[in-house]
Subunit: 286 residues, 2 copies
């Protein structure tokens, strides 16, 4: 009686011809965590200087052997050099890249207007974004999987340490942090990182031996092609995405007895990513 | 330079005299997972029949040795008897408890009105809730940590299998599912459960050996007091909660350069829970 439970809630139109894009390997960063590899797609169109510095740090080996030293359940996993002792040629403080002027020629697919926090939300070049048409600004949202540079109180103080959102979208950080990517593969390995206690030392895990380590990070284009995961991301203007959103608005399934108000939280509807089908590992493997 | 990063984003008023309540041990269910114990606070005021049946199943040992057999990253972890072979005296199908008539004498603390999905949100007897004053209804929300009974397409078909929300709030399930509790301790152990592949077998992990097991479940009041974790939950009408919400609305910290619109997503502001201070384990332990 229970076997079919909840099945209708998550799936959409496997029979539709779905369209997938192959992200540029120069915009993909792999990070080897204790439980598995994660892949971040970078967003140079929004945060070019953060992306350039992050890639330089990755290529320098700056992050190799460093930790996710501050991991707060329901909030973020933050990584980098908590001791501030590791040398680097690329540690310069970066100018904030919180938002940019709306680029009318960018791929933008409206999802919700008005939205709860932003005047508009939509997919911007494959990422969940906010837009304020009156102010002429657009920015990337803090959704689960969002990657952004940490900073101190100064806007222009991001440098090396970064965080990944692991809980309910902390939307108050939108337009306050330089978002430069999102995790498109392996969020379960981020979720498996050891947590700190938010009431003690601000969530920093004091004992380095207890922290989840970055074994290695690298840019995909620096790897031999046969050692890369072949990842694909759903096209934001594909029929599958449009049907998924339309169905979510109307809740036109017999599963639903209350059909809501038609408003969509874009952070619940990230563009899907997948391993190219022939590369899929079996379910439940690590 | 990076050490203080993001510290202002999560913390609030440690100097305030905080008020904490001790949940009724008869409304607490412990579940031993591979990585640690989790604790669910039950909500009999909203879903009395689901709570009664769930507790009877727990006491019967129904869940002991069963699995989290369908765990979808960013959505839910679902547990129970996927094979439907385990006998029980308490497997009866339950009438839906999706919402109830507003009980004016209940403890209710308004958080947001209007909200994006619900006419109102607030804390109802310690849980994130929605309210529709015109319809005279109130219900518990699907936020991270929410526990609800799975069902098939029929409203009155919940029985034994349940799920825990592990991703961005799936608010389309509000008023469609019988929410009967929330995890107040150990969400990181839920997040560490092995995932299924949502594109294969609807996310069910086929190989039972790969699933995260429920080693044992029990009702707190059935345990010797000295074997229980002593958990406390923040009082919803405490000064600490009111200050946290007020500060979140105004974003009155020098960390913020953009101060938002004052609207709050209650799922980002769950009432905190803690081990009674003398019982706290060190940070980063499992």
């Amino acid at each position: 009686m229970n076997k079919g439970l909840l099945l209708l809630l998550f799936f959409s139109f496997p029979l539709l011809a779905e369209q997938w894009r192959d992200p540029n390997p120069d915009d993909l960063v792999y990070i080897q965590l204790p439980k598995g590899q994660i892949v971040i797609e970078l967003a140079p169109f929004m945060a070019p200087h953060h992306v350039r510095q992050f890639k330089a740090l990755v290529r320098e080996g700056f992050y190799d052997g460093l930790d996710f030293y501050r991991v707060i359940e329901g909030f973020v996993a933050q990584a980098g050099d908590v001791e501030e002792t590791r040398p680097s040629k690329y540690k310069g403080m970066l100018k904030a890249e919180f938002s940019r002027n709306i680029a009318p020629d960018s791929a933008y697919t409206l999802v919700q207007s008005p939205e709860f926090i932003a005047p508009q939300t939509g997919y911007l070049q494959g990422f969940a974004a906010g837009r304020d048409p009156q102010a002429g600004l657009e920015w990337l949202l803090h959704c689960p999987g969002t990657v952004a540079m940490a900073r101190n109180n100064e806007a222009d103080s991001g440098s090396t340490d970064f965080y990944i959102v692991i809980g309910q979208a902390p939307r108050h950080l939108d337009r306050n942090m330089s978002v430069f990517g999102r995790v498109i593969y392996g969020m379960e390995y981020v979720q498996a990182l050891p947590r700190g206690n938010p009431e003690v030392e601000m969530g920093v895990i004091k004992d380095a031996g207890q922290r989840g380590k970055i074994e290695k990070a690298w840019v995909a284009s620096d790897m031999p092609a046969d050692q890369r995961l072949i990842l694909q991301v759903q096209e934001q203007d594909s029929e599958a995405v449009q049907k998924r959103l339309a169905s979510a608005r109307t809740m036109d399934s017999p599963f639903y007895h209350f059909r809501g108000n038609g408003k969509l939280d874009i952070c619940y509807y990230p563009l899907k990513s997948r391993l190219r089908p022939s590369d899929q590992p079996p379910a439940g493997t690590e």
